[in-house]
């Protein structure tokens, strides 16, 4: 008897709050706005369950016994009304404006990685209410309705949070259309936003879901075939967050499938690294349900795509260096812009060597070298012997290959100079620059190794020697002894005509050299000085000695000034004009004729 009266009382409480009844006023306040009413309602719901438990066969089925309870098959209708009401209440509470959230800070109640920062998305009492509602609904078999409401309300909240963090809704088409400079800025912003999104927003959402749903049977409708894999307490969270997460990672994916141009390499490595850093957190947060796992899987896929992009871009860079067309010769034989570009790029590669060493796992492929073979610009490249010391990493092999390709390309450019001396000078300048850049960067030096550096240095030295030979041999030959002496005859001695010829040739050749080579360029100051000194060291003593031995012959003849135009010191001064890259004053400065 008592039980029956209690039951009726409980039903009355519940029916009072029937949101579907015709008497429900439009502006009726929410049940959970009033603490006392809310408590009463929940007690009534508990009473319903306690006093008229659902039959074990199927929750929600009509009851067989009819013990003086209201018409219509027992307490089930009241339960349904209660559940409908609770669903509305739940929606209202969880929909509360997020900005009311209180404390920020770490929570230790939920397992998390140190990097994760969960915050309270809703005030504590709201969470308690939600838990209270959810547990009643789940116990009555209405767990899925509850989960559904939760997800549908949290989803826009998550979207809004991500929007506030600066995550944009960019399609792949949008990303394709943007200039790389603009994309670089977006990538930087994305990296910051993604960290906050994963470690803050998603983590906090998961925690909220846990606080409300943990240990509740929210998929307890076992009868129908419509039951999927039992939902874990994570599923509402996963449903709420899934769209936002896929959209977030979708940006990284869009970047990874763009065209592979060399300028993109380093930002894409940044993106790859940022995503790699986040993957453990993603794995931790999105682990507990099938839906959640698929998010982790996609993020991991995208990371792979970025790694592929990195490898592809490096290949593209190597190809671009190979294919850089000769165009017109750089004036003055100076360092070619290609050389600067490639060496700067290589320096950056060595800066990023940690990630690149992980990602670059194969040596420059045979196909890359074969491609070089097919290239009419580089027919002999494939035959070049690449240095391959035993413990050389694939990345190091690539850098060396890049420099080999660069050198080869430069040789093509050098051949454009009509003056052989200038092409040697050009090679000298450029190889020197390469060597210099390597020595300037310990990481780069390390990658390239001493052996190859030695080779490069040798190349440079040889180019310098070749230059000197082709530029100066003829001139120095004017100062030789041989051919001047005349044998026999009674003035055994010097052929004056030959001597005069020598002086004239020397003057003309030197003047020509001075005119032309002053316009040539050796950009490196030290190298320039050394080269001048080297020239002086050969030229000046030879001239001085020549003068010393033969000048009196000329001075005894007619118009000596036509033949002995310069003193040794004049020459020394004139050499300083060489390689300035500036056309010289028309005449060689001379000290007053002695």
């Amino acid at each position: 008897m008592d039980g029956s009266a209690e039951l009726e009382a409980a039903e009355r409480v519940v029916m009072r709050w029937d949101s579907t009844s015709a008497s429900a006023a439009a502006d009726e306040p929410m049940l959970f706005g009033d603490r006392a009413e809310a408590e009463r309602f929940l007690r009534a719901v508990d009473d319903l369950r306690r006093l008229a438990p659902p039959s074990p066969a199927a929750v929600g089925s009509p009851r067989r016994l009819s013990s003086g309870s209201s018409a219509g098959g027992g307490a089930a209708p009241a339960v349904q009304v209660a559940m409908a009401r609770l669903e509305d209440e739940f929606r209202h509470v969880v929909d509360e404006d997020d900005s009311v959230s209180s404390s920020v800070g770490r929570r230790s109640s939920y397992r998390s990685l140190p990097s994760i920062r969960e915050i309270d998305l809703l005030p504590n009492d709201a969470v308690a209410d939600l838990r209270a509602i959810a547990s009643r609904m789940a116990a009555a078999g209405y767990g899925r309705e509850c989960a559904q409401v939760y997800a549908s309300v949290r989803k826009p909240a998550v979207d809004a949070s991500l929007r506030r963090l600066g995550v944009e809704r960019l399609s792949i088409g949008d990303v394709q259309r943007l200039e790389w400079k603009a994309l670089e800025a977006k990538i930087r912003r994305w990296i910051r936003a993604a960290r906050a999104a994963v470690r803050g927003v998603f983590a906090s959402e998961r925690r909220l879901c846990f606080l409300i749903f943990h240990d509740l049977p929210i998929s307890n409708i076992a009868v129908t075939a419509a039951a999927t894999a039992p939902a874990t307490h994570d599923t509402p969270f996963a449903e709420a967050v899934k769209g936002a997460a896929l959209q977030l990672f979708g940006f990284a994916e869009a970047i990874s499938i763009g065209r592979r141009s060399p300028e993109k390499l380093f930002k894409i490595i940044d993106l790859h690294d940022a995503l790699s850093d986040l993957l453990p957190d993603v794995s931790d947060i999105f682990a507990a349900s099938k839906v959640a796992e698929s998010i982790y899987v996609q993020a991991a896929e995208i990371r792979s795509r970025l790694a592929d992009a990195v490898r592809g871009i490096l290949s593209e860079f190597e190809n671009a260096v190979l294919r850089d067309p000769p165009k017109t010769a750089v004036p003055g034989g100076t360092v070619h812009p290609l050389t600067r570009y490639v060496m700067n790029y290589s320096s950056l590669i060595s800066d990023y060597k940690v990630t690149l060493s992980e990602l670059i796992v194969s040596r420059p492929s045979a196909s890359a070298r074969l491609a070089a073979e097919g290239n009419e610009l580089a027919p002999s490249l494939a035959e070049l012997e690449l240095p391959e010391p035993e413990n050389q990493t694939p990345l190091a092999a690539h850098i060396i290959w890049i420099i080999v390709v660069l050198e080869h390309n430069l040789e093509g450019k050098a051949s454009l100079y009509k003056d052989t001396a200038l092409s040697h000078l050009f090679m000298m300048n450029n190889v020197y620059y390469i060597v210099h850049k390597v020595k300037d960067s310990p990481d780069l030096w390390n990658l390239i190794g001493d052996d190859y550096l030695k080779r490069l240095t040798g190349k440079f030295t040889m180019a310098a020697t070749n230059y000197q030979r082709s530029a100066w041999l003829k001139i120095l030959n004017c100062l030789r002894d041989e051919g001047l002496h005349v044998s026999g005859g009674f003035s055994s001695g010097i052929s004056k005509s030959a001597l005069r010829e020598r002086f004239r040739s020397f003057n003309a050749a030197f003047e020509e050299a001075h005119r032309v080579q002053s316009g040539w360029c050796v950009p490196d100051t030290q190298l320039r000085e050394e080269l001048r000194i080297s020239i002086s060291e050969k030229l000046v003593p030879a001239y001085r000695s020549f003068l010393g031995r033969f000048r009196h012959h000329i001075e005894n003849g007619k118009h000596p000034e036509l033949y002995i135009k310069y003193s040794a010191e004049d020459l020394e001064i004139a050499v300083n004009d060489f390689f300035e890259g500036v056309p010289p004053s028309p005449h060689i400065r001379r000290r007053s004729h002695s």
Binding site: G60, G72, V81, Y142, K155, G173
Partner: protein, 419 residues
Amino acid sequence: MPATDSSSAAAPLSSFGRSFLSHRRDQIPPPPDHNHTNSSSSDLEIDAFQRHAADLLLDLLSDSDSLLSLAWTRRLLDSFLICIEEFRAILFAFADSQPLSRPTLDRLLLDFLDRAVKALDLCNALRDGLDLIRQWRKHLAIAAAALSTSDPDPDHAAPRGEAQIRRARKALTDLTILMLDDKDAGGVVGQRNRSFGRAGTTRDSVSHGHGHHRRSSSGGSSGSGSGSHLRSLSWSVSRTWSASRQLQAIGGGLTVPRANDIAATGGLASAIYTMGAMLFVVAWALVAAIPCQDRGLQAHLTAVPRTFPWAGPVFTLFDRILDESKKKDRKHSCGLLKEIHQIERCSRQLMEVTDAAEFPLAKEKDPEVQEAAQELVQVCESLKDGLDPLERQVREMFHRVVRTRTEILDYLSRPHNAS
């Protein structure tokens, strides 16, 4: 770059293709005649590719009952995956091996790439659309579960109680609002709900109308505040994104290759054209079937000459699907997928059968309810079985298009061989 490691069904594909071809050979129009004099192996392969595409389409058309069902859509995607694999194989077998005009080939490939990239956004949008259907299914499942009885034998089971019916109706009302709301962004939900529920008589719908007005709209979503909190998915594309525009970009301006282009590229121009058309057809059919933002089906292929064996089947497919879209009860649907229609029908049927019900449920009514509930369960089943695999296939389509694109870009960046 050699077409090597396609991890998918490339090996068994060729045998499938051949047996298929020999079975169908008598039904297809004569092959296109590119080059009278020398029928090189590339010509043969390209011809075979086109006829294979035609066969796949004919196969899809053969079972008209299952058109646009989940199972049929999965076969559509399978056909696409088969085609793109063959296309890749042909391209990379022949692009390097014979003298051809690189500028022409490059131009055609670049055009193909532009179209292919558009398909990627579409794949993502379709994934969202499938997820939407999954959300609908959840509501169906709740209704189905609510209506289940302890005893499957209809003669012994007690009639369904008020609670069960009300619970099921609530779930189905929520579903209907969802389906209308998502189709019609920013639509005024309250009004629709009332008209659906025959205002004034059904308590549920009216109260929901009331109920909405009391609630604050959830932050961040747009459109009418009243229904927005019931949206399970706001579109994750930007407001200006349009499936119809994507389709236009994929198929628009896809012109028949000129004879000298075909000759200059050793026939590859025809293969590229065929693949472009297949991409468009599949994308178009998917947009027809699956909900997505701004689903317009106006985009079309400009006239394809009958020399291409797949021309007939393609236009037949367009016609069949367009016919479906014009049917009275499908005109305003958010997707032509058969199962969506089933969802709409089942839920409407159940609502009608249980409308203005008196409790305990009249003896004659219960079998009707039982029948409607059974159908509901069936729809849930077929959705459960079909949605996940379809989503995986759409993702696979994404992967293949990306891979093909990457390979073509690599090819384009390689130096031209001496020609």
